[in-house]
């Protein structure tokens, strides 16, 4: 496997009337070919902004990518001109969003919207591209696909629109698919349909994928690796077995503890993380989780307030060294039993 995407020290801010929003504060990660990375974190933790930044889609103003590199196939995407970037978007990297209605044009038929990109990126003529568009819709499970090319987005249900978005995303065989909460607005039975579909297509197309969600259950089922974000920083990252089965970061632990389980009777009280998510208008000097962290409190770690913990390999980890976290304490070393 070789590295497909290499993100380093990404910093993104928004300069708004209410002040500067410190949305992404130094994010670095790698993605291998064919790999699925799940990015989880609460609302406002910087999941969408960091992936929009890789795609050159940060609205500017008010947004600004302050620093960082995004190496994709030997090029730094952050240095490309807008029209070079446009060629990569849709062709090499595709993106699907939570609400398909915001990315589908309501006044154009589905067929027009899919064929447009096929004509642009693949140089197909009208009848070739219509044939291919119908095949794509058929592949994502839209019945009677050829006829439905002439329908408008509002004539499809929410789940079907998301299928259409997936068909459009896959139309040019991208190497990387970024899916930002693609199933959050859908019912669980429809979500299960979409997840099955994406898993199957991912193998067929041999794509790498970034799947953004706040639902830890969803990524447990599809991601090879998990990245947990909080306050615009990566708190912990590792294989899904490492993060779910052997989490080392107080925030990850807290998050997992606060989730009830479908598969066991819920008699214990949920552990709760006290306090509320950070206000992103203040740049935290130290660890963004410090105000809510009971490990910091228990260990009386003053450092957490004013020094940012670096993202480093988890100490004494049996794995291949890719299980990393950013924390001054290692909760397995003596603290966990006492908290």
């Amino acid at each position: 496997m070789s590295v497909l995407l290499d993100v380093k020290d990404l910093i993104v801010r928004f300069y708004t009337q209410e002040g500067t929003v410190y949305a992404v504060n130094g994010v670095s990660f790698e993605l291998e070919e064919g790999e699925t990375l799940g990015i989880v974190g609460e609302s406002g933790s910087g999941k969408s902004v960091s992936s929009l930044a890789l795609m050159g889609l940060i609205p500017s103003p008010p947004g600004k990518v302050e620093s960082g590199t995004v190496m994709f196939e030997g090029r730094d995407l952050l240095t490309l001109k807008p029209d070079q970037m446009r060629l990569i978007r849709g062709k090499e990297i595709a993106m699907i969003f939570q609400d398909p209605m915001t990315s589908l044009n309501p006044v154009l038929t589905i067929g027009t919207q899919i064929t447009e990109s096929l004509k642009l990126h693949e140089g197909m003529n009208t009848s070739q591209s219509r044939k291919r568009a119908a095949d794509l819709l058929d592949m994502v499970g839209i019945p009677d696909a050829y006829r439905r090319l002439d329908d408008y987005p509002h004539q499809f249900s929410g789940g079907m629109r998301q299928r259409v978005m997936i068909a459009m995303g896959l139309s040019c065989n991208p190497k990387l698919l970024i899916a930002d909460e693609p199933t959050t607005a859908l019912d669980v039975t429809i979500q299960a349909q979409i997840i099955e579909l994406v898993k199957q297509l991912k193998d067929e197309f041999n794509m790498a994928m970034i799947w953004i969600t706040h639902d830890l259950g969803v990524v447990a089922g599809i991601a090879d690796r998990i990245q947990v974000m909080y306050g615009g920083r990566i708190m912990e990252s590792g294989s899904s077995h490492e993060v779910f089965g052997d989490s080392r970061h107080p925030y990850t632990e807290g998050l997992l503890g606060s989730l009830p389980r479908l598969d066991s009777s819920g008699e214990e009280k949920l552990t709760q993380i006290e306090g509320s998510p950070p206000d992103m208008r203040n740049e935290p000097a130290g660890c963004p989780f410090a105000p809510r962290c009971d490990v910091r409190e228990y260990m009386n770690l003053e450092k957490c307030w004013d020094e940012r913990p670096p993202l480093e390999t988890v100490p004494a980890d049996g794995g291949d060294g890719t299980h990393v976290m950013s924390c001054w304490a290692d909760i397995r070393e003596g603290v966990a039993e006492n908290v």
Partner: protein
């Protein structure tokens, strides 16, 4: 973090005979009209289409099902915020569906609702103090302003809000805090029954546990009864004693949570539970999913026969014939509406 462990057994001692709410054959249809000058009814959305269940004092009944299946309409019709099209709602022994005016207003003190969206459900121009005390003013409780303020401060403390913030406005609070304001307001009149309509859906994961724990603590302390409407089936298993699964305006399965989750009988419940992702990669790797194809039919035009027959993986001839399957007790206390289950 609290280390206190409570089990369902020591948490609840329910008296099965103390039925607080009894719903029988409840229907709520919304008319679909056409015509601009002369409106005439051309059909109806059968949002709730004949449901029956009861709730015991002190218990939490969960109401689950996909978007549009009629959960909120059920909650609102019980509270008489919508008047039923047909059927009966008996609360603490009294029939609500025919009750009007002052009697109903008095009754409403005993039944409250908490909404999903803590942002939209609070008046942005009112301070927390006036939001929480509004029900007290409407019902003219506490003519003495000082006493009222003291009571509001007590309520705020009870739901974990600092009374110091009594003069602040909703936008100055986080989502979880706003939901606490909603809960304080619902508790102001000392209700015995609360419809919680997706009270945690809009909240961050780390905040959901705070609100759920608060609701459980208040239930113990005040002997509250909840109808807990939710999408999150894992949370429902955690917080509820029994669960009712709705599909297209009808209850398809009803029973104690552990029983229904461990032995789902209705094909829809089976598919629904199998679709819920579990935050554990080991479990996910070995899971068998029942994927049901297609979308929810329109409640304005439900199928003939069993409502689930357009998507059911195990349907057969009988499922397309009237009458639709009745809700029968398939296992002890466990009710199912399906021709395959007898």
């Amino acid at each position: 973090m609290s280390s206190q462990v409570m089990t369902a057994e020591n948490r609840k001692s329910l008296d099965e005979n103390d039925v607080i709410l009894e719903v029988t054959d409840l229907k709520k249809h919304f008319p679909i009209s056409s015509g601009i000058v002369f409106q005439r009814q051309v059909g109806a959305v059968r949002a709730v289409d004949g449901i029956s269940f009861h709730v015991v004092r002190g218990e939490t009944l969960g109401l689950v099902g996909e978007s549009g299946c009629g959960k909120s309409t059920t909650g609102r019709t019980i509270l008489q915020l919508y008047r039923p099209t047909e059927g009966s709602v008996k609360f603490e022994g009294q029939e609500l569906s025919t009750m009007g005016g002052n009697d109903l207003r008095q009754m409403r003190r005993r039944m409250q609702i908490i909404f999903q969206d803590p942002f939209a459900s609070l008046n942005p121009r009112m301070t927390v103090g006036s939001i929480v005390s509004e029900p007290l003013q409407i019902h003219k409780i506490y003519s003495n302003k000082k006493e009222r303020q003291q009571y509001v401060e007590q309520l705020m403390e009870k739901v974990g809000l600092n009374p110091y913030f009594i003069n602040r406005y909703p936008h100055e609070f986080s989502g979880g805090q706003r939901q606490r304001i909603g809960i304080a307001r619902a508790l102001a009149l000392e209700p015995s029954f609360i419809v919680a309509d997706e009270p945690i859906s809009a909240l961050d994961v780390s905040i959901q546990a705070q609100v759920v724990n608060l609701m459980e603590e208040l239930q113990d302390e005040l002997n509250l009864t909840y109808l807990f409407i939710a999408h999150d089936l894992s949370m429902v298993r955690h917080i509820c004693d029994r669960v009712a699964v709705m599909y297209l305006g009808k209850i398809v399965e009803l029973g104690p949570v552990d029983e229904v989750y461990d032995n789902p009988q209705h094909p829809y419940t089976q598919a629904l539970l199998s679709a819920v992702p579990v935050p554990d990669p080991m479990v996910e790797e070995n899971r068998q999913r029942i994927i049901i194809s297609g979308d929810l039919p329109s409640p304005a035009n439900p199928p003939t026969g069993c409502n689930f027959n357009t998507r059911c993986p195990v349907r057969f001839d009988l499922c397309f014939e009237e009458p639709d399957p009745p809700l029968i007790e398939a296992r002890p206390d466990h009710y199912v509406s399906c021709h395959r289950v007898t």
